[in-house]
């Protein structure tokens, strides 16, 4: 068997999701007695041989006119070519926006069964079964892949990154350069902020904060903890915060190590997007708030009094560290 991991570059850099995918591919190779190789598109200053320490044997690096900006159709065609050349049987993607727009294309092009949002290594002793989260995090499902070739898109923040020894063989690879039909006109990046899906810690605010002018509490605590900031749907709907911060069933689903919810009651739709967080902290003045039932730690109290004290306490431990 032969595993091919699509390693995503974000502004030319290897992000956490890329290392997760590499480790997942590497561990699956160990489990099935095969090799995991990686494919990388576009220019980068990163030393791609370091992927060897995460379980990757060979890195195929493709640079051509179609790799400069992202066109899902063009990327899929180039990956399909590499799969043919290398006779890969299993493809691994990160279940990011990029992964979601190319993995399903390859599923059709290669007639390969696809599971998106995988959260564990597949069971391979009898068939090929992949566990994923469904119903926006309210349940799990195990899916059998019935085809010979298989594709898995790994949910970010779901698989442990472990760095070992070793160095991958990096080779540049030629593919055709498909016509780019979706042209990128401009990019706006929210700089200096921690990406929500990859963040270890997320501090989130709800209507309990009463207005956008009070968000200093959320952003200060987040900054001290190196956390990303998020919000509930009503907050995004009234434009107190931008839509891309909305976590929940119709927003972004996240699974950080620590989720701190301030002034969020915990409607079922919100919980769906955050209940895979490892530790949940809820600050709410209403003791009946449903969020407390899903929380690990809670304070029943006024956010405007509690959060400044939390900020002081975090400052103290950061000074000691």
């Amino acid at each position: 068997m032969n595993i091919l991991v699509y390693i995503e570059l974000n502004e030319g850099k290897l992000k956490k999701a890329a290392f997760e995918a590499a480790c997942y591919g590497g561990d699956l190779a160990k489990q099935t007695g095969s090799t995991a190789n990686a494919i990388v598109f576009g220019e980068t200053n990163e030393d791609l041989s370091t992927l060897g320490a995460y379980g990757i044997s060979n890195v195929y690096h493709v640079i051509n006119s179609a790799t400069y900006s992202f066109d899902a159709r063009a990327f899929s065609k180039m990956i399909a070519e590499v799969v043919q050349k290398q006779s890969s049987d299993i493809l691994i993607f990160s279940n990011t926006i990029t992964g979601k727009s190319i993995a399903p294309q390859l599923s059709v092009m290669l007639k390969a069964g696809l599971v998106t949002g995988a959260i564990e290594l597949p069971k391979t002793s009898n068939g090929f079964t992949v566990k994923k989260s469904v119903f926006s995090g309210k349940a799990f499902s195990e899916i059998n892949i019935l085809t010979e070739k298989k594709i898995i898109a790994l949910q970010p923040n779901s698989y442990n990154v472990s760095k070992g020894e070793g160095s991958a063989q990096v080779q540049s690879m030629e593919t055709s350069s498909p016509e780019v039909k979706v042209k990128v006109e401009s990019v706006q990046k929210v700089s200096g902020e921690v990406s929500l899906t990859e963040a270890d810690i997320v501090v989130s605010g709800g209507r309990g904060l009463k207005g956008p002018e009070n968000w200093g509490l959320v952003t200060e605590l987040a900054q001290l903890l190196g956390a990303a900031t998020a919000c509930s749907r009503p907050v995004a709907d009234v434009h107190w915060r931008p839509h891309h911060e909305h976590v929940g069933q119709t927003g972004i689903a996240i699974a950080p190590n620590l989720y701190i919810a301030i002034g969020i009651s915990g409607a079922i739709q919100h919980l769906a997007g955050v209940n895979r967080s490892k530790t949940i902290v809820v600050i709410n003045k209403d003791p009946e708030a449903p969020f407390f039932k899903a929380a690990d730690y809670g304070i029943v109290g006024d956010a405007f009094e509690v959060v400044p004290k939390m900020i002081e306490a975090v400052k103290k431990i950061k000074q000691q560290a």
Binding site: D71, G117, F135, A139, I145, G251, V282
Partner: protein, 267 residues
């Protein structure tokens, strides 16, 4: 956030649309967002008991409503709705027709596999010569996020995912899409497939005229093509219940921070 490129102003439609444009909107049936999630048949099937079914929110609020706005700006636009499923999808597709859309099609197919569903849509779309195909960014039940990209591959048409804004200028689309840590504006010529999410349009509620009108709009049933499923569901499982919340006095938030550091090892 720094704006490098002027974001197209949505809502206003000064743009010259291609006339007689045909839009296909994919509609999926999902359990209501507050539905209790339970399983039957030895945890192999979702239990529909007492569940209220809705149009998948991404299909309704964003992709369908945006298509309706394009038709409002240019009445020569035709909107077709398509759903793949059993007869129990019909109330959902009627509700979608009450919001807007000219005609609906249901492909009779009970299959859950995304590939089979996408192949049905692709085959239907191919014969319809659509200029635009809209899907939601995912369904809120199986969270596959696959249909749009699969149809794109099957028809070899360009695909833009996670769109938050969509504008037309003649035969060209200007689409704002979410990327990791920001947004990107891209352009593509029609025909094009777009997966839609928050920002594309505002939620609407069907009015009485729409509801009455939907009763007489054509809803055709089509036999499914035969395709081999690529996946099957083995079983479902619910997450383990939480052990219970540890409450800390509001007078002592520093105790919470200590627990997060020493007990949960989270900071």
């Amino acid at each position: 956030m720094q704006t490098i490129f002027a974001t197209p102003e949505q809502g206003k439609e000064p743009t010259q649309q291609k006339s007689d444009m045909k839009i296909l909107v994919c509609i999926s049936k999902t359990p209501d967002t507050t539905a209790k999630i339970a399983f039957t048949d030895n945890n192999t099937k979702f239990s529909g008991d007492g569940v209220q079914w809705i149009i998948n929110p991404y299909d309704e609020w964003y992709s369908l409503v945006r298509a309706i706005e394009l038709k409002e700006a240019d009445p020569s636009v035709t909107i077709h709705l398509i759903t793949v499923g059993g007869a129990d999808c019909e109330p959902i597709i009627r509700k979608a027709l009450a919001l807007g859309g000219d005609e609906a099609f249901r492909i009779q197919c009970e299959e859950n596999d995304s590939y089979v569903v996408a192949m049905q849509i692709a085959s239907f779309a191919k014969s319809g010569q659509y200029d635009l195909i809209f899907t939601g960014k995912e369904t809120i039940d199986y969270n596959g996020s696959s249909i749009g990209a699969m149809v794109s591959a099957a028809l070899d048409l360009p695909f833009v995912s996670h769109a938050t804004k969509f504008q037309l200028n003649g035969n060209n689309a200007l689409v704002t899409r979410e990327i990791e840590g920001g947004e990107e504006i891209c352009s593509a010529a029609l025909p094009l497939i777009v997966s839609c999410q928050k920002g594309m349009a505002e939620q609407r509620i069907p009015n009485m005229k729409g509801i009455m009108g939907a009763r007489t709009k054509p809803l055709k049933t089509i036999e499914a093509e035969s395709h081999q499923a690529q996946t099957s569901i083995s079983n479902f499982d619910l997450p383990p219940a939480k052990a219970g919340v540890k409450l800390i006095s509001p007078e002592q938030p520093e105790e919470l921070i200590r627990l997060l550091q020493e007990e949960a090892k989270a900071i």
